[in-house]
């Protein structure tokens, strides 16, 4: 303890030096006085008494030094002096100091804040304990091209039963429920999952408990709520436990509420994907027929201690082989491979390119901020060249000048960094308060320390390099030479000029990289807006519905609803066409099934033939404005017992029947060995974008829903209901928003409880699908704007200073007859030269990093000349504008005053 106290005091003593010195002086004086008094008492003369007192006391200066050494860490003292000196110096030039600190603070603060928030919201780390043992287990279906491995219902059963590598392992599947009984019926996103999933994730519930594997096996109707749902729909009422919810009109007992940070499944870029969790409790038919060949679930597990993902994978592969041996005949040709990978990898993989791009944007802005700091320090050192020379002439040691220069730049960069941190922390505070309270782990959003360490490190390094380089230059300059320049600040050394020019060039080129990136993304966005989507966007309304099984147990009930619905819709005023489709363009990818095409012999090693199927009722083609290219659309006469028909899209037709007339060709569902009936192609329609406009198009075929069961052949399960869900699509004369109420009324008159999900105009659907690109574009453009602002500031400060330095040169030129116009040109041309070189280098750099951006671009080459030229011109004109002010000032110099000055 006492040592700590002393260390602290000795350190603190460095800063309270003057007070301690005064105290010491006072004490020594008092001591000497007392000694003197004593000697006087012995009867000596005052003169002798003073001398004797001195002798008895010893050397005053030595004592003082001993005292100082004892009092404070003297090694540090000189550094403290340097810091104090620096602070004094900086206080004398507040403009420079503020600019440097704020520039750095802005660069560091803005970038780290944006990065931290984006990272915290979109790319959250896994919120589960010991994530290194959490894995996703799934099948790779040989010949398919799914990016996420998934499983079937029998797979879940088999893997759970027979693998040995997992502490806990369970399956899960997203499911929509109609929630009724509490106000208007609504649709909620839920997840069915095995009881084993909760213990695998190991997050304790906030209230109540989670369900067990036993409850899952016994098909208990229990539900666990998410925190967001509990707060929003049930106002955080703790009495919710033990009450019942109507999900699809079946009573589910609420047994628990999860904490706010619990989120599962995790989807990067989305939050609160699942609002409640219910037991998976697979129905018997899910193990039969077509269900058994539907890879529509996923599995998550926790590895036993010491088991690696690779070992778990070979363990699971044994189970997969057994599963394949038991495949029914119609699935004989399917081959699966087990795949085990860390949940973390599975979740983060999709977001990785965005993080990389963000990091590059952050680094670029930081580089520009540092270049600015470098420029400012350089400029300052030039201004103080004479001061240095004078101090050297007066005997200052070079090492001391170097140390002071270094301390000054470090003080600046560290202060800037710290202010930046405060700034970033404030930004994050504000950001968090703007985000919804129920966002998972919102309070875990904090400064991203690796990025901060990088930013601070870069700032300090800049400070060191930029502080030392000019100091060395200053020391090397001959004292005589500098002083002989007399009162003239004169023209600066050519070395400095070059360095300054290099900084401007570097700033311009780095800023240009970001600017082109932003330009390319903006142009990609514009291109995306111009894409032919293949369907009509205006005057179209859509809404999704699912008929709950409790009420619609038989096909006739379902058909009764659908017929009544279509009839009601067609009678609405202003309706031009109404239909129901199982897929909605631009709403997202629906998954695909394998198909067999008559006469098509697949090449050896080729994958499965996969296509997306959509089931249609009414007039969805007309309602959506999907163009018919050949043949006919479906009619009322395409019934279950009539000829089985299909409509293919252009892409599918061109794949299988290139250069032929596809009408009359035949295809069927399933693999060659699957006994399914042939469907005859009666029409070809244009391709539509199922996902975002910048995504690809799928091979698609359409069927009348009436023929679904027959066409599924062996895949159809007993008692299978069709047409229990779909997207209602309406084409109207009126603005589609005005149709919403009448659509709702039309549904309610048939089933008053049925909620309509996501009723929205097609314009809305499109903007939803454009959102990710919009986000990227806005983000990068924001960084580019910061970069441009910083760069302009940097260019301005450097050029303004160069002009100030050349004031006398300008004055002389003018005195010799140069016109003001000429001076203006002189400055602008030198700026333009730097700008041009910077742009040239920037363009080279931009093309060098273009491959990073490649995956984000759409319809635009990374070398798009328009973007490159426009960005370069923008930057060039900004550079010229930044130098216009100093140039104008130079032109206004009064030669007489400038020459007399100094």
């Amino acid at each position: 303890m006492r040592y700590l106290r002393r260390i602290f005091l000795r350190f603190f003593g460095l800063f309270a030096n003057s007070k301690a010195e005064a105290e010491l002086d006072r004490e020594i004086t008092a001591h000497l006085q007392l000694l003197e008094d004593d000697f006087l008492d012995r009867g000596v003369t005052p003169e002798e008494a003073r001398r004797a007192a001195r002798r008895a006391y010893g050397g005053v200066e030595q004592v003082k030094q001993l005292h100082r050494n004892e009092r404070a860490y003297q090694g540090l003292a000189s550094t403290v002096m340097d810091v104090q000196y620096t602070l004094r110096q900086l206080r004398k030039s507040p403009g420079f100091t503020l600019t440097a600190i704020l520039m750095l603070a802005f660069g560091i603060g803005a970038t780290t804040a944006v990065f931290s928030i984006v990272e915290g919201v979109l790319l959250r780390p896994l919120p589960f304990a010991d994530p290194d043992h959490l894995v996703i287990l799934g099948d790779d279906l040989v010949g398919s091209y799914w990016d996420q491995s998934s499983v079937t219902a029998p797979d879940i059963r088999n893997y759970m039963r027979a693998t040995r590598s997992f502490l806990h392992l369970g399956g899960y599947q997203g499911k929509g429920f109609e929630l009724s009984g509490t106000g208007d019926p609504v649709h909620v996103n839920a997840t069915r999952m095995s009881g084993e999933v909760f213990p695998a994730l190991a997050i304790a519930p906030l209230l109540g408990r989670w369900f067990t594997q036993q409850e899952d096996d016994q098909h208990q109707l229990v539900a666990v709520l998410s925190y967001g749902m509990w707060r929003e729909r049930f106002h955080g009422d703790e009495k919710i436990l033990g009450t019942k919810l109507l999900l699809d009109r079946k009573p589910y007992l609420v047994i628990g509420v999860m904490p706010p940070d619990f989120e599962f499944p995790l989807v990067p870029g989305h939050v609160n994907n699942s609002e409640l969790w219910v037991p998976l409790s697979p129905q018997p038919e899910e193990f039969t027929a077509g269900y058994a060949a539907s890879w529509n679930s996923r599995m998550v597990g926790r590895l036993k201690p010491g088991v690696t993902p690779a070992q778990a994978q070979s363990d699971a592969q044994l189970v997969a082989e057994e599963t394949m041996r038991n495949y029914p005949g119609f699935m004989r040709s399917l081959r699966i491979r087990s795949d085990v990978k860390l949940l973390h990898e599975d979740t983060v993989a999709q977001a990785r390119p965005l993080v990389h791009t963000l990091l590059i944007a952050v680094a670029t802005v930081l580089l520009i901020a540092c270049a600015n700091l470098a420029g400012l320090l350089l400029v300052r050192s030039i201004r103080r060249r004479r001061e240095m020379a004078v101090r050297l002439a007066l005997g200052a040691r070079a090492a001391m000048l170097l140390r002071q220069a270094m301390v000054e730049s470090l003080v600046l960069s560290i202060t800037g960094g710290l202010v930046g941190l405060v700034f970033a922390a404030a930004c994050i505070r504000i950001g968090i308060s703007l985000l919804p309270e129920t966002l998972p782990r919102i309070h875990a959003i904090s400064l991203d320390w690796p990025v901060i360490a990088f930013a601070l490190g870069l700032a300090v390094l800049t400070g060191l390099v930029c502080g030392l380089a000019p100091a060395f230059a200053a020391i090397r300059t001959s004292v005589n030479e500098t002083l002989k320049e007399g009162g003239r600040t004169g023209t600066p050394g050519s070395g400095h000029g070059r360095l300054r020019s290099m900084l401007v060039v570097a700033e311009i080129s780095v800023a240009l990289v970001l600017l082109t990136a932003s330009g390319l993304l903006l142009r990609s966005f514009e291109k995306m807006r111009q894409v032919d989507l293949g369907f009509r966007v205006d005057h179209t309304l859509s809404a999704f519905y699912i008929l709950p099984h409790e009420r619609y147990r038989v096909q006739s009930a379902v058909d009764g609803f659908t017929d009544a619905l279509l009839r009601n819709l067609r009678q609405l005023p202003g309706i031009k066409a109404a239909g129901i489709s199982s897929s909605l363009p631009a709403a997202g990818y629906e998954g695909e099934i394998s198909i067999t095409v008559e006469g098509h012999v697949p090449q050896k090693g080729a994958g499965l033939n996969m296509a997306t199927v959509s089931l249609m009722q009414g007039d969805p083609f007309q309602a959506l404005g999907i163009r018919l290219l050949r043949g006919r659309l479906f009619t009322e006469s395409d019934k279950a017992d009539s000829q089985l028909v299909t409509i293919a899209n252009r892409k599918l037709a061109e794949h299988f029947w290139p250069g032929q007339d596809p009408i009359g060709k035949r295809l069927r569902r399933g693999m060659p060995e699957t006994p399914t009936p042939w469907l005859t192609v009666v029409g070809i329609v244009d391709d539509v974008k199922l996902g975002s406009p910048d995504g690809g198009t799928a091979e698609q075929f359409y069927q009348p829903v009436t023929q679904q069961v027959v066409s599924e052949g062996a895949f159809a399960s007993a008692g299978e209901l069709t047409a229990t869900w779909g997207y209602i699509v309406l084409h109207t004369d009126l603005p589609p928003e005005q149709m919403e109420n009448s659509l709702r009324a039309a549904v309610r008159s048939i089933d008053p409880q049925l909620p309509l999900i996501e009723m929205q105009t097609m314009e809305h659907v499109i903007s939803g699908s454009e959102a990710p690109r919009l986000f990227n574009t806005v983000l990068i453009s924001a960084f580019a704007t910061i970069a441009l602002l910083l760069a302009v500031l940097g260019i301005y400060s450097v050029i303004a200073f160069s002009v100030a330095l050349r004031e006398q040169e300008m004055a002389i030129r003018m005195a010799l007859g140069c016109q003001r116009q000429g001076v203006l040109h002189l400055v602008l041309i030198s700026a333009a030269k730097l700008g041009a070189i910077g742009c040239l280098l920037g363009l080279l750099a931009a093309t060098a990093v273009s491959h990073l951006l490649g995956s984000f671009l759409f319809g635009v080459s990374p070398f798009d000349p328009l973007v490159l030229i426009l960005s370069a011109l923008t930057l060039l004109s900004f550079a010229l504008a930044a130098s216009a002010l100093p140039a104008a000032r130079a032109a206004k110099i009064d030669p007489m005053i400038a020459l007399r000055g100094d």
């Binding site: 002393r6 008092a30 001591h31 006391y57 001993l66 005292h67 004892e70």
Partner: protein, 115 residues
């Protein structure tokens, strides 16, 4: 700097601290000059030391929190800084004295046995 010289200073320092503490404990509040005079008196002027050498010891002891200095007036109305031993100082004095006795005893024992 040769190490032997260094050691002797170290030893002197430790001893000086102990002596100063002891003096303050038995004599009560004292200013630096009084402490110095007391040292001269006790050592019978054998300890020939500049009075200024007390100062590093005083600052060190004060930083340890063992003594506390306050400004006051002497009988002759001169100002002086008076040092008083603190409670922590009392404790430290006890421990340091014991340590010194053990060490002195050990050294004595060694010297006797070796001779």
């Amino acid at each position: 700097m040769p190490s032997r010289e260094n050691e002797s200073i170290q030893l002197l320092q430790g001893t000086l601290d102990l002596i100063v503490l002891r003096t303050l404990a038995s004599m009560g509040t004292q200013h630096a000059y009084q402490i110095a005079k007391r040292l001269e008196q006790v050592s019978g002027n054998l300890l020939n030391l500049n009075q200024g050498t007390l100062y590093p010891a005083l600052v060190r002891l004060e930083q340890y929190g063992w003594i506390k200095g306050t400004w006051g007036k002497t009988e002759n109305n001169r100002e002086a800084k008076y040092y008083a031993i603190t409670r922590a100082g009392q404790n430290a004095l006890g421990k340091e004295t014991q340590r010194w006795r053990r060490m002195a005893g050990l050294v004595e024992k060694l010297l006797v046995e070796e001779s």
